[in-house]
Subunit: 215 residues, 2 copies
DNA sequence: GCTTGAATGATACGTACGTATGAATAAATC
DNA sequence: GATTTATTCATACGTACGTATCATTCAAGC
């Protein structure tokens, strides 16, 4: 029922979450079967139904767990910036928003690539449920950044600003996705990841700072 | 149902391509069944196997048909620019590359949204075949733009330039994807699409023009 | 020691899928 | 008009999936 399973064993629930996170990120939602998840988790097929209710609810749980640290870091970064000045430099805002998408890793081994892969899955999955997976928390963070950017970039219409913020998400998510999907052979992943992080900040800061489109 | 003039209707193969393009773009590759495609096309279930061999080969055919006009427009745009000067303004290059992603429509009704949706599907689909769907034509166009951008943006490492070009694709594809997935109610689609097109050019021109990231 | 309730295990059900097959049909050729 | 060729049709096969059911295990609580 409402009880949270608290047993001393290496929690089946957590192992299912871990396995599902891996497989959802690697093969997408539809490409991952409950059987593959439970097999990887060393659990029984019925365990997903018992602990989460359904495959969709498992996905929602995975996404929540993955997105939470990203949101927290984004929120903390914005708080830190606004504590200094109400109108931080655009580059700082971009870094505070996009940085966590590169840094925050979901309790895994290969770093944030899986996170972005999951974000990508959500963005691109045509299932209507996908949109609700992220939950309202993400929206609230986005709204706060939206307001901050609006202060720093006057003259930009709300629609164009929203477009630009989506651009940030697109660039970071797709970048990480590509890195994961075609890994450069013989090239150290962390180095590439850190370079991409800096390139992204440069790229996106310039993009955000662009003057409003003349109508 | 006796005397319906079959001769006037387009051939089954084309109708299957149309239906598949729609459904693949709307529900993704895995989310679209052959049965749904043939039903929508008014064809028999076996028609896909007969005309294309398999579902994967059908997808490849769809992608080829969709990407071809985009590639052609990109190529023509670059040719026109280079005919004038070997070093066109960055904004012109961006528009020549990204513009067709907004404009070129795959013989459909709702315009280029489906195209970008398909590109998105390819980019985000974890299936290994997906990468080969686009074919080598796209690569050759990209390489030509890469060279042109390299001339215009000296000091940029090939890796960072490649990152930025991927950024162009990300922003346009994700934008169109979002527009299609959550259509603004009561808002004229073409107007929004044209605004997004201009916003994207602004956004991406500034991003591409950014000075190289200091290492 | 027996009960209890959470957790896991084995398995069955109904469905949907991609593909293959062979018959039926239309069109073209001779 | 008969034969051939290119499609279209109806349908069957094997598989994989999500979910549901029910028995079993196991650590406390009394």
């Amino acid at each position: 029922m409402g009880r949270v399973p608290r047993v001393a064993t290496p929690d089946t629930r957590t192992q299912i979450l871990d396995a599902a996170e891996h497989l959802f990120a690697e093969h997408g939602y539809r490409g991952t079967s409950i059987r593959a998840i439970t097999t990887r988790a060393g659990a029984n097929l019925a365990a997903v139904g018992y602990h989460f209710g359904s495959k969709a609810e498992l996905m929602a749980a995975v996404v929540r767990r993955v997105i939470e640290p990203v949101n927290a870091a984004q929120r903390a970064g914005l708080d830190a910036l606004l504590a200094r000045t109400p109108e931080p430099p655009v580059g700082d805002l971009v870094e505070a928003f996009a940085g966590p998408l590169f840094d925050e890793m979901p309790a895994g081994d290969e770093g944030g690539a899986r996170t972005s892969r999951l974000i990508m899955t959500i963005l691109s999955d045509p299932a209507e449920e996908a949109r609700s997976w992220a939950g309202p928390a993400e929206d609230s963070v986005r709204e706060r950044y939206l307001a901050a950017f609006a202060r720093v970039l006057p003259g930009l219409s709300p629609e164009e600003l929203r477009f630009r913020m989506r651009g940030i998400l697109s660039v970071t998510a797709v970048d990480r996705l590509e890195i994961q999907q075609r890994p450069t052979p013989g090239c150290a992943s962390p180095a590439v990841g850190q370079a991409a992080r800096r390139w992204a900040i440069t790229f996106l800061t310039a993009a955000m700072s662009a003057p409003p489109t003349r109508t």
